[in-house]
Symmetry: D2
Subunit: 363 residues, 4 copies
């Protein structure tokens, strides 16, 4: 999601646009080919384009100009045919998002898989259930892990749905009334959804993506908080794995900090405010907004980056979690000594339900 | 969504629980009947229960106690059978939400209908398309209204989906491992979804509702902002209808304030922070949370109230909107005099697409 | 902060305005006396005024009308002299805030006092210092309490400063250019600050109040989270006091929930989103805003209510906290057995610094 | 505020710490000199340190290790003497903030100066005052600019106060009970405030900075929104200056976009969510937090970056604003034709008050 990735995504849009226009007979085929061939980020100076962008409050104008220079005089008039800056930037933002979601969805699926294995392996591992941070009644650690699993699966399913329905092409032209045939072709080529109308000032799509990322980050934060609480010295029922010096302290050699949990929580703490920003930016004026739209770009990047980071850490956390069934059992026994006993309830059946949902989950 | 509505919703849950337990053979049928018969908010002192709630940081404990007194000695032991406070409160919150969504969805559908009528009626009404608050190129007012329509339809569809899939029963018992058979019966009776697992500390469902409300509020704010801009004296291309003294000023008799637009924007401005609160509260500890869950109740009420209010105002705004095609045409003519001309593009075809989507929309 | 309190505050403003206008020779003294005498909330129907408010998107217009009826024909023309609705509502909001701050500041000061007593009493009480939720090195519980104290004192000082400098009269008239002499008199009578200019669309003052409330709520949440962690069964080094059935569970008789901590955290979790709303509303148009201003009213009420509630709970929490020095010492001893030892450092001197700051703190 | 700036700031803290420890007799003077001499970012590989940081969830541990290698065997044991990672990172964050505030305060002061000049120059320039986006009564453009001025001055004064009182050294050691004498010296050397206690888990200071930045951004957004509204073709009473191709459009040659206004609004739209994140992160556990603290770093950088950018754009906007008094007068005349007349009220006196406040403002 760095400047280079954005630049390439914008160029991918210009290339797809040129080809679509050629197919519609709006642009000569050779010009389209020349444009598409030129759309390689390596041929452009990302830093210079970034600086030039400030004068226009967006990067597309200097990019189109640079692209026209690269393609030469004959093809130049056919660059960016019938498009407006926001067409290119919105479509590029969707491409950037879709690419960022590949490792993110993979990590989330792997985290879910690890939680599923914990659930299955610890069906009979008793643990003290805790409510309001007080010891309540026994349950199984497997059911706890199944709860983590379902939290991840349900939010991941929503994210996968957002990926498959919200990431759309934008190709409405200056005021949104462009014939949709070009947009259809661009959507098909780039693997994006074709919207009913241009969504220049209807920001349901970026908001849907943001909300799905926010929910996933929240579900992961729940897992991380539980692990951080488990890892307290006085509890000690589970702790983060990962060998080497991981989690060391600069001042206290005996300490082993729950680095992955802390990182998940830190990332997830930053996400809700960003989702609020995306929602607050929705009141966009007329055909294209004076500020609200421009507030989205960096926010969406941060949302993808932070949720992606939280997901990678959560995967590692769950895949390497060290569980201490002995200690869990000892704490249950102590609770029983204090007169509080209880069985595992329907824990086993519930774990089966969760694993079933996991196996049927979309990816 | 006042205290009385919450009280009745909690009583509805206790009644459904008693009947479900009777069907499962866990509670005598007569006891269940006695409990269900007693579950009428008129028989309880909502204010006294509210005060008693503080000592427990939730209202269920005093309610269960009061209900036991009302049902008499024989049925009393069967009240709240196997349930935990959060089972009742979460399920009641979902009932409250479902009930609040009835007028909200109706108003949103009516707002969409009004936008659709505007789109259809103003296919040929030229208007200046405006980007970054600058005059850009001509378009049709019908396409503008179609844009409002699609914004409302897409967010309403997501809200309807949240209503139909996220509003679930909660019946996990103290640590979430209760046999799901009772919950299944309660879900069926109350018309709520049955979850895979108890969601005491997995808050995907309230967050899904919150996000859907947030997106709808944002889509309505876009409409309201456009109308407020249209209603400026120097633009004057559309204004709010509504007769009488509506929109009057305390100091300036000549002014007519865009009351509905302002009210929509005011409500919608308050929504993003509330959605962020719901997301931030997701990191809930172990089997039930110490603070995060308790932060949700009032927030969800505010979200339903503010989005509901925004929707009612937006419906009125769109149903009564007074459009001035003459003035729109004059401004397009003036732009042409300044050398900027343009047609309606694919406006007509795009309006058809939007109306088609409108007619196929879920409710 | 209920409807009645708002109504009386608005009437207080109208009364002060009438008297100020009389002193400036703008209104006959008898008319001013008649108006001031009529400004008693008991003489008005708050509910009816509330309903009438919707048509204007604010409550001042129907109130002025009702007040004119109450004062009779002769004084009626002098009601609301030269003022605009926002003058009355903004000034009333400041009065409501100032009144709400009286118990809030008292509770916060009492919470600070309780923390100071704990700091002083527990200078020699060793406790395990914990970082990243891991046991680190010994410290004193007195220093921990001193940390809570300083957190409260610093945020309380900022809130007291906001009370004394940000709560200002608003008396600019329809477009803000009213002669400031009337406003000066109103400010003096109501005990509010006189601003340089009318602040109809410059919302620094409500935002300053909101930010100060937000910081105090955050400082209290830190205390509450520490206590909730102390109260875990496996730690058990401190717990909430408060007798009777406080903290009981509907399903588990052995549990004693940390009700005050949970309530503080629940309230504080809801505050950041509200502060964000106040900030997001600042971009207010021209002389008076179309939506941003109207978003503030309910938000400010919620901020005062939630922070006030968090403060009352935190006071109770700190005043009744039950500390278990034995258990603290045992955990330090256990850490020493694991090879981690350490003294109290400069704990004593630091507690003295904190107590000194406490005694010098503004109220 | 890039990685290099952070690296140098952390090294500046280590250097100041070594010198302070030498002055206190805790570290040999030669070792301190060697350490201070080595603390030059050019001698370290920022990228490699960044990667190594992940294993510890913070960058200080690998930095201390690298610094020990650079200073050689003799001085190595005296590096980072008695400090904990958070001491270095918190103090460095304060240094980074203070440095970032230099241009930010300068730009804000220049923006205020430009607004003051507009206020003074346009005392007699009549303009239509607008409320709820409706034309209300005449006022002076000078008073409008004075309102912008006071909004900037009041928020800038709060920011300057935060700079001078909230930016503190952190030197508490692993659990916060380090003797404050070393911290006093470090504070004096680095020009930071000395706190009463270590503030590892009392986050009043970063929050105070964040809130001040948030309020300034909001005050600037108000200016930008007014200018964007003025610049509408139908209003045209003021527009952004700045020559060349600034504000050009990729699709419409006749358009001149209000680039500075849009950029201010875009930045300011992103700020409230970030302030909420800082507030939400305050509930930090025990002596040092597991996630809340770590959420602050990137958020504070974003707050400084976005508010800094908004301030630079607002300065340019105000310094280059092109006002059209003719057009303002024509619109006032048109309002008079519609029967709405009015004078400038106390506009002149109010402008004097604002200019007086401007000249007395802290920097």
């Amino acid at each position: 999601m760095d400047d280079r990735a954005w630049l390439q995504a914008m160029l991918d849009v210009e290339a797809a646009l040129a080809r679509a226009c050629a197919s519609e007979g709006l642009v000569p085929r050779e010009a389209a080919d020349a444009i598409a061939a030129a759309c390689d980020a390596a041929r452009f100076d990302a830093a210079a384009l970034g600086q030039a962008a400030a004068a226009f409050a967006l990067p597309v104008i200097p990019l189109v100009r640079a692209l026209r220079e690269v393609v030469g005089e004959q093809a130049a008039p056919y660059v960016h045919h019938g498009a407006t800056s926001q067409d290119v930037l919105d479509t590029a933002a969707m491409l950037v998002a879709r690419r960022a979601l590949v490792p993110l969805v993979e990590d989330a699926a792997a985290a879910a898989g690890a939680a599923a294995r914990l659930a299955d392996a610890h069906r009979a591992t008793v643990v003290v259930g805790r409510t309001l941070l007080q010891r309540a009644l026994p349950t199984s650690f497997g059911l706890k892990a199944a709860g983590w699993l379902i939290g991840i699966e349900e939010t991941l399913a929503a994210l996968v749905a957002a990926r498959d329905t919200a990431l759309a092409v934008q190709m409405g032209g200056p005021v949104g009334h462009r014939d949709p045939s070009v947009g259809e072709r661009v959507a098909a080529e780039l693997g994006l959804v074709e919207p009913v109308l241009a969504w220049h000032a209807n920001r349901v799509r970026p908001v849907a993506l943001a909300a799905a990322l926010g929910a996933l980050a929240g579900a992961l934060a729940k897992v991380a908080r539980d692990v951080a609480l488990f890892a307290q010295g006085e509890v000690g029922e589970a702790r983060e794995g990962g060998g080497g010096e991981r989690g060391g302290s600069s001042a206290m050699a005996h300490k082993r900090n729950p680095v992955a949990s802390v990182s998940v929580i830190a990332c997830a703490t930053r996400v809700p405010g960003l989702v609020a920003t995306m929602l607050a930016a929705m009141a966009q004026e007329h055909e294209r907004a004076a500020g609200g739209w421009q507030a989205e770009w960096g926010t969406q990047v941060e949302l993808l980056r932070l949720t992606g980071s939280a997901t990678a850490w959560a995967r590692e956390l769950l895949e390497q979690l060290e569980v201490d069934p002995e200690r869990m059992r000892a704490h249950v026994a102590q609770l029983a000594e204090e007169g509080v006993e209880g069985g595992l309830g329907a824990s086993d059946e519930l774990i089966d339900r969760a694993l079933l949902a996991h196996r049927a989950a979309p990816r």
